[in-house]
């Protein structure tokens, strides 16, 4: 495996960590299961691609625009969540994904099925982030910022408010949480972060095509969150790493990537709904016990 190839995989992993963490804000924190997250990735990618190729904006501008525009679109696409709950919301988000892809495909402004090409490598503060190590550092930095945002949200009143609406909307209302307001927050924040990831995605590949952001991609992102452990910070990170890495390391899986994602989703739902490392999962309980007994040993030994 060449160094360049390894860096490509690592860069993708970093992008998918941001994506999985952003979906986790919506699905894990606020409890709104979405099967349309790839649409936000796509909107961010297309925003950046159009601004860079058509209008020649710099990376900094098109990256920030991708975040803002996707965030705003996310707020609007989150409006169905105010009317429908649970399984119906899942269906609605799925529909949204198909609509967004159709718009990319059939509206000429978005380049149609041929997509948009020749997206330049980004430059920031005079530094070029063309491929390889620099781009990996850039995407890792974005993943870290995403992680920091998620961690911070979980410590604030809004993090607690997300928790309450995920638990029970009536009980949430009884302590003063408007579930409508917080669902919209969750959609907005989640979409904005995914939009930024989309921008990085577009600049990394240099081209965007509608089908890249299709429904199956949403399944892939959701699988990462569920497989790793929904609602935690470690879960989506581990999920993104393992599910992006497995097809690369085990070449024979490559063609069956979505079989792996789909199969894992089914297995996790059946046997470990909390995910690999979710709170209360088999593995996480073992690890917690282990770390506790090590700690005790150290105290006893000291």
């Amino acid at each position: 495996m060449s160094a360049g190839y390894a860096l490509t995989i690592l860069t993708f992993i970093a992008i998918y960590i941001s994506l999985a963490l952003s979906l986790n804000i919506l699905t894990g924190f606020a409890g709104q299961v979405s099967l349309g997250h790839a649409a936000f990735l796509g909107i961010g990618a297309y925003t950046s691609a159009i601004m860079a190729t058509r209008y020649g904006y710099s990376f900094a501008v098109d990256f920030l625009s991708a975040i803002i525009i996707t965030g705003i679109v996310g707020i609007f696409l989150g409006l169905p969540s105010l009317r429908v709950r649970h399984d119906f919301l899942v269906l609605a988000t799925m529909g949204i994904n198909f609509v967004v892809i159709s718009v990319f495909k059939y509206v000429d402004f978005f380049g149609g099925a041929m997509g948009l090409v020749n997206i330049p490598a980004p430059t920031l503060f005079g530094l070029s982030f063309r491929g390889g190590l620099p781009y990996f550092i850039l995407t890792s930095f974005y993943a870290l910022v995403t992680l920091a945002i998620c961690w911070y949200i979980s410590k604030t009143w809004s993090g607690l408010a997300f928790h309450t609406i995920r638990n029970d909307e009536d009980a949430a209302a009884s302590v003063g949480v408007s579930s409508a307001r917080y669902k919209i927050y969750a959609f907005g924040i989640s979409a904005a972060i995914a939009g930024g990831a989309g921008s990085l995605y577009a600049h990394f590949l240099g081209s965007v095509f509608p089908d890249t952001f299709a429904f199956v991609e949403s399944i892939a992102i959701l699988s990462m969150v569920i497989f790793g452990g929904v609602g935690t910070l470690r879960g989506p990170i581990i999920g993104a790493i393992i599910l992006r890495l497995a097809p690369e390391l085990l070449r024979f899986i490559q063609d069956y990537r979505f079989t792996l994602y789909g199969g894992l989703l089914v297995l996790m739902m059946l046997f470990q709904p909390m995910g690999l490392l979710g709170d209360g999962s088999w593995l996480w309980q073992r690890l917690s016990l282990l770390s506790r007994s090590t700690k005790n040993n150290i105290t006893e030994g000291g």
Binding site: W157, S158, H163, T164, A173, S174, V175, G176, V177
Partner: protein
Amino acid sequence: MALLEVHQISHWFGGLQALRDVSLQADQEILGLIGPNGAGKTTLFNIISGFLTPSKGEVIYQGKPIQKIPPYNIVRLGIARTFQIVKPFTTLTVEENILAGLGMPYYPQMRGLISIYRTPENLKIVSDLIEFCSLQNYREALANRLPIGIQRRLEIARALATKPKLLLLDEPAAGLVAQEAMELADLINKLFEKGIQIILIEHNMRFAMNLCHRIVVLAQGEIIAQGTPIEIQANDKVINAYLGQE
């Protein structure tokens, strides 16, 4: 003027009339709301706490109509409630459940998005509430692991964290053994002494009769009697409503 006045409330669920011209006042007392199943007691609670908008009539709280205000804003006015089927935040600990109530002023504001909730001052308030509601042994426990009696006290603690002036308790003694019910009655009396007006729905007659200063009896959506526990116990209409005699 009473703290809460319910004026001529009627409510329909489709073609079914759940409440018919219900009027009552509550001020400076522990008010009991009793009646057979399906009498409309919980419907009335849902209307007062903003979870339902009545088809007709007004709810006047501190002199202002509140029947169109959504529940998450009703609690800001000082009306807190518990639920008949307990609804603690199951994936949060007892401490976090109470903190969630304490966050009430922050949720609609931008500072809710950016300020940290687990501060020493907030934890101090939580400690006081935990002690007040005798939840000391459960502070770090997840709410869904708790027995029903503890979950009911937790819901009261969470409601108290919003600093209510009026507390609506929906069957607080349901599922409790005698000893727990007695402790709960003590807790409710202590709340009243702290100046919190209380309205409670109860099926446990002994509990309601011993605790409440005044009782309102609902049957088939109408108020059929109100008065002191002693008056209610002697009221023929009430006895008929419960025993189904005519």
